[in-house]
């Protein structure tokens, strides 16, 4: 009886060890596969000429308005913080305009001429872009919901809707044109990044057309706005 139990114990231990080993090998394989995809994605990113308009190494380089205006596309060095990967992969194959206006222009409409990638390139480039992070975005900070407080701040107390398109209560398109559209923001943006961007804009965009709200909105109100914006397009 005692012997039998000892054997069973040994068997259980052995099984656990095996499971752990298999798990570890599996994880290693997964992480190296992800690295391989990211490396392939970086190669595809460069081969497709994406670096002509987007820079991918942080921290932020812009110090003056001229620096910002010299750019022809948004910086991507924190793309992994900012985007929802499924959205990003799909968008890269069918890149519909996000900004109503051409990047950095107040007079020309967005010509909608962003190059499209093949499905394979889009998958690997999205793996690569999602590997680019700032290291300052905390996850799980924003609960996405139809946030009434956020709505009031976004559309009444603060001028957010003056520059960003969004979806009205009946699904109608509203808002201004100079900023990126937020109409489907919940599909595109990581809610935690929206909050981090509001709380520390100098990290992500030290020079931008949008006002700084630090010291004007509390952290709680910023979280309400992030929650409200991240709800667009999700229901």
């Amino acid at each position: 009886m005692t012997l039998k139990r000892r054997d069973t114990n040994r068997e259980t231990k052995m099984k656990r060890l095996l499971t752990t080993a298999i798990g570890a090998v599996g994880l290693l394989a997964m992480s190296s596969a992800a690295q391989a995809d990211a490396a392939a994605g970086q190669a595809a990113f460069e081969a497709n000429g994406c670096l002509d308009c987007h820079y991918t190494e942080g921290p932020a380089r812009e110090k003056t308005i001229e620096d910002q205006l010299a750019k022809t596309g948004p910086e991507l060095w924190y793309a992994g913080d900012k985007f929802v990967q499924d959205w990003l992969t799909a968008w890269l194959t069918v890149p519909a305009p996000i900004r109503p206006m051409k990047f950095n222009s107040l007079t020309e409409e967005n010509p909608g001429d962003h190059p499209a990638l093949s499905a394979d390139d889009a998958a690997s480039v999205s793996d690569y872009l999602m590997s680019l992070t700032s290291g300052v975005v905390e996850s799980g900070t924003v609960k996405v919901k139809k946030n009434a407080k956020g709505r009031v701040i976004f559309s009444k107390k603060m001028p957010c809707s003056g520059c960003h398109q969004y979806t009205g209560r009946k699904g109608e398109p509203l808002g201004g044109n100079s900023g990126p559209s937020l109409a489907e923001a919940g599909k595109r943006l990581n809610p935690d990044w929206i909050l981090a961007y509001l709380k520390q804009p100098e990290t992500f965009k030290p020079v931008k057309m949008m006002p700084v709200f630090v010291g004007l909105l509390s952290d709680k109100d910023m979280a309400n706005v992030a929650s409200y914006v991240a709800y667009f397009g999700t229901k």
Partner: protein
């Protein structure tokens, strides 16, 4: 002596003319970057955000009659603290945390140039 004085005066004037556009360009850059989104590049209140949904008409800075009703202190106030600080629309953002004192000074000068008026 008279000739010397004239030359010195002319040189001083030339220096002023040369240095003035550099300052103006800086304020103009600031204006075009932040303000033109709503107020338009020429300050006529017709920036690309002014769609049919826009709830108010952004100030036309070339309207001397309206602009001369506002003192420089009024302009500073509304730039720093936004529309609600002067019982106007929250569509005018508070720029206090974005712009430096020098940039606000420059903007006030630029607005006075656009309206060709004083407060």
């Amino acid at each position: 002596m008279k000739k010397l004085l004239t030359v010195a005066f002319a040189a001083g004037l030339a220096a002023q003319i040369v240095s003035a556009p550099a300052q103006a360009a800086d304020a103009e850059t600031v204006f075009k970057f932040y303000c033109a989104q709503c107020h338009g590049l020429a300050g006529k209140g017709d920036g690309p955000n002014v769609t049919k949904d826009f709830p108010v008409s952004p100030r036309n800075f070339t309207d001397a009659a309206e602009m001369s009703k506002l003192s420089d202190a009024d302009l500073r106030n509304v730039i720093l603290d936004g529309g609600p600080a002067v019982s106007k629309s929250p569509m005018m953002p508070p720029w206090a945390k974005t712009l430096s004192d020098e940039e606000v000074d420059g903007l006030i000068g630029h607005l006075r140039m656009l309206c060709a008026c004083e407060g």
